[in-house]
Symmetry: C2
Subunit: 339 residues, 2 copies
């Protein structure tokens, strides 16, 4: 059992108030009282009880980051950025994973359960939408990440998926490709990302006068390597396979790359590839991956800042913050230069 404040006070022959003053480094403590208390503190190896302190103060110093999947590199990299930003503000981040499961998302965000020890939440939903989030019983501030459209009056940071997908597709068009496929469309109403990127892809094709061919738009259930590999196999089985593919994230692109190379085809000579996310894997694949790079540091910075504002009592209208992105051109569209 760790020592309590009262035990320290008894040992030092002072009141708990004075011990608390010393523990919290308050200035108005007489030097020799401080020394006496400090000795008792050391002897008993006192550690403040964080739970009691939180109950009393009304703040834990903890914020939760709730993400679909920690082992998706984009989220892992984003997590690193959020942890750094929060640490700079004196907050500790704890991370939780939902697998995009609506039940788990609801449980974590509605905080019915014991997860409710956090001062605030940064939440990237996959399944939950406007309706679910509208009347949370909790007053814990939430900042939303990602494309799930929520009009429910919560701060929200997202990349312009349509614009980014257009940019990626235009790049392939500019390369002179004519049969440009897309991997990652999602028919599921609750998954917005795929739909929005398909929209941008189609916009770009139409603007360039390139025909939109439905069979070149491949839906996937998830955005994992395996999905990309399978979708690419389907595309290669087409009578007239594509000469370029826009994959809705880098994991899909890496899966597609594996399939292409395993058939003895070349990237980008036979098929050019563009991904999305700029995860580290894509910088080290051969060929390296041309991709859309969302500014993860900026996303993290905004998310933490918005949350801190709310914690400070900011009552202003919910913010809709667009995150910057750009196109990073690498070997999967320009070719490998062996040196």
């Amino acid at each position: 059992m760790p020592a309590t404040l009262r035990e320290v006070a008894e040992r030092a022959g002072v009141s708990v108030r004075t011990v608390s003053n010393v523990v919290n480094d308050f200035p108005q403590v007489a030097p020799d009282t401080r020394a006496k208390v400090q000795r008792a503190l050391d002897e008993l190896g006192y550690q403040p009880n964080a739970v009691a302190r939180t109950l009393r103060r009304g703040r834990s110093g903890l914020i939760a980051l709730v993400l679909p999947e920690l082992d998706v590199p984009y989220f892992a990299e984003l997590t690193r950025a959020v942890i750094e930003q929060a640490a700079a503000a004196g907050y500790t981040v704890v991370v939780d994973q939902t697998d995009g499961d609506p039940v788990r998302e609801r449980e974590l965000v509605m905080r019915g359960s014991r997860a409710a020890m956090f001062d605030g939440l940064i939440f990237n939903p996959l399944a939950l939408g406007d309706a679910d989030l509208r009347d949370r019983p909790s007053s814990t501030p939430v900042v939303l990440l990602g494309e799930r459209v929520v009009q429910g009056g919560l701060d929200h940071i997202m990349v312009d998926n349509v614009g980014a997908a257009e940019l990626a597709t235009r790049h392939l068009i500019a390369l002179g490709r004519q049969r440009i496929a897309a991997i990652g469309d999602q028919s599921d109403e609750s998954r917005q990302t795929g739909r929005l990127r398909t929209q941008g892809y189609q916009n770009a094709l139409r603007a360039a006068g390139v025909e939109v061919v439905p069979e070149l738009i491949r839906p996937t259930e998830f955005f994992h390597r395996a999905d990309g590999a399978a979708a690419m196999a389907d595309l290669l089985a087409l009578p007239d396979p594509p000469d370029a593919v826009f994959c809705y994230n880098d994991l899909l692109a890496l899966g597609a790359l594996r399939t292409i190379l395993s058939r003895g085809l070349r990237v980008p000579e036979d098929i050019a590839l563009v991904g999305f996310d700029d995860i580290e894997d894509g910088r080290y694949s051969t060929p390296s991956l041309t991709t859309i790079r969302p500014d993860k540091t900026q996303i993290a910075k905004h998310a933490v800042q918005l949350l801190l504002n709310r914690l400070d009592g900011d009552q202003s209208a919910p913010a809709e913050v667009p995150a910057d992105y750009d196109l990073v051109v690498r070997e999967s569209t320009t070719g490998i230069s062996t040196y």
Copy 2:
């Protein structure tokens, strides 16, 4: 402000005790009392205060997983496994990242700070060793992961690094390779992993009568792709480059692979490659990666089980649990079969 138990009690015209009984689903509540209370609960949107509950109960239902780096795929994949195992036991896992920084490791594990709201800790140290962990002031149970040797009387799960490295190296020897390099040695006293794997590598070479060539053993600061790429470049600059490389993790191997391919060399024809960890990236690279596969599910299962035992008051001697592993042979040593 969320409603409190007392407010619900007043509204329902009962005592807090009765409300608590309803909230916690205790059976001995009269049906109509229950209904009355339930109505008040619903009307006020009552959510129990998890902090107060934890203070009172002495348990939060939260366990912390403290890892060096979340964006290293091995740890991300391990995290998934731990979350699954803990969830099965009714615990929620929160994850924290130390970057192997001794200051952060100490802060989190010694729980000087507000992180101290967890019932238990699963900790993979990088910098902290025996001495540091010996006299923790806290009584929160800890289970250690990884190779950092700790005799301090804590439960500990680790893979046999020496044995696994021998297995990997023997595989390369069996392929007939003669100049087998190693990437990932660590001279730093506090980093055990590299040293142990080098030992296994050397054991295997000696047992096979292959000369140990110091210049073929490359130290790296971290176990990241960039380190592997740089170390491989050094090896290729040697007058007599290796014909095989054992990389101490898959990330190093993926970096090395990138360097090899970018020089126009072939894997495995010119240089065979073996990694360690079996991360998903290595299953989708071209060529796919031969690797040592630690049983991550088993590690997670043991870690959670050991922790639960301690939480249940288990006072037995600290356990040293070896984790299973095996060699997964893929294209980076056997060659790519295009189909």
